[in-house]
Subunit: 160 residues, 3 copies
Amino acid sequence: MPASSKKLSIISFSGDFDKAIAVFTLATGAAAVGREVKIFFTFWGLNIVRKNKWRSFTGKGVLDRVFNFLMGGLACLPLSRFNFLGLSPRLMTYMMKKNNVATLPELIESANALGVQLFACEMAMVILGIKKEDLVPEIRSVTGVAGFLEEAKDGEILFI
Amino acid sequence: MPASSKKLSIISFSGDFDKAIAVFTLATGAAAVGREVKIFFTFWGLNIVRKNKWRSFTGKGVLDRVFNFLMGGLACLPLSRFNFLGLSPRLMTYMMKKNNVATLPELIESANALGVQLFACEMAMVILGIKKEDLVPEIRSVTGVAGFLEEAKDGEILFI
Amino acid sequence: MPASSKKLSIISFSGDFDKAIAVFTLATGAAAVGREVKIFFTFWGLNIVRKNKWRSFTGKGVLDRVFNFLMGGLACLPLSRFNFLGLSPRLMTYMMKKNNVATLPELIESANALGVQLFACEMAMVILGIKKEDLVPEIRSVTGVAGFLEEAKDGEILFI
């Protein structure tokens, strides 16, 4: 079997902006050379694929609201190393544009166009009070750990 | 060979509460579908499997004491994204209970019952001044990098 | 094929001191037992292999300078869990020396001597304004994601 047909699966756990960039750069890079690529969004990684791009108080219970506020959305992803008043993600986006490197929403779109399959973690959604309709439509399905391992079998798995 | 018999090895490097949950959720999920699962606790990950659950000053030298204090124990794991005065791990445990998702000690117990093998990193124990008797009895053995790679061979490895 | 001949590839994404130690400990441990090992430095991980070991303002534009200052160099790697005024990396180096465990520069040297191959990520270098001549001579080549996946094929990949 040629290497290009091998599977690459990524567990996207972190909601940090730079790690989200890493997830999609690896995913699209691998898909571009013919790999079958699957991304499993869990915990803070679910933030990357939430529709609502701004911090909001949409949870049902008080604790859900606290979590939603703290987690924020796509536009509020912190940068893992330093994140001064939200400056850095914008700074990096600016530098990426300046250097003609794709930005996150463009990478999500490209990933979808290249056939990268996106999954959301069922357990994390239950814990954090997130529903399927809160996620971007590119999410193929909601699945558990066993389901994901079945999807990922016979390939490499990265935890980011 | 069926996929279910494949090995999954996890290097548990982070002492963050949410990542510890991820380690055990993946481990027990994989073991539940028949995978052979091994977890290698190293650096801050050793915190997850220390007996002493409270911050203490048990080291021999002053530096060991500083490290022990800073590292704390199982009951003091920080949450990687936000950890306001210790609020968040308790908040997550509360939400996990509310939603009938297993908590960390339950996951350690389940992992053991499902045959997940736990190892501790020899070098990190030397660096951080931790002894075998400081760790929970579920730790099968203390091993080095070469020993772990031998245990993990022919399977997937995740670094969490 | 014996397990010892299998490939191990590491994506070194984090610039944290403890994770850098983990990267090189795994790499040299694996190389020592006969594995073919490749490390791909990207984003903050590029810090680990920069020549300039002190914080400096060497970038061309103002934003490059801000990034360079914030990223610092090899001597300024933060410790991921706690990093009080730069105390901890020095503290860990001290403890490592006290316990006869190799320090980071020694690990880089050992990795090179053991045949570990070092690569730098082209895209991250463009984003962060880093040039090939800014990196240590042990960097074998600058490559993209597709090139790295080709190098890493038929082996395990860790994201650290």
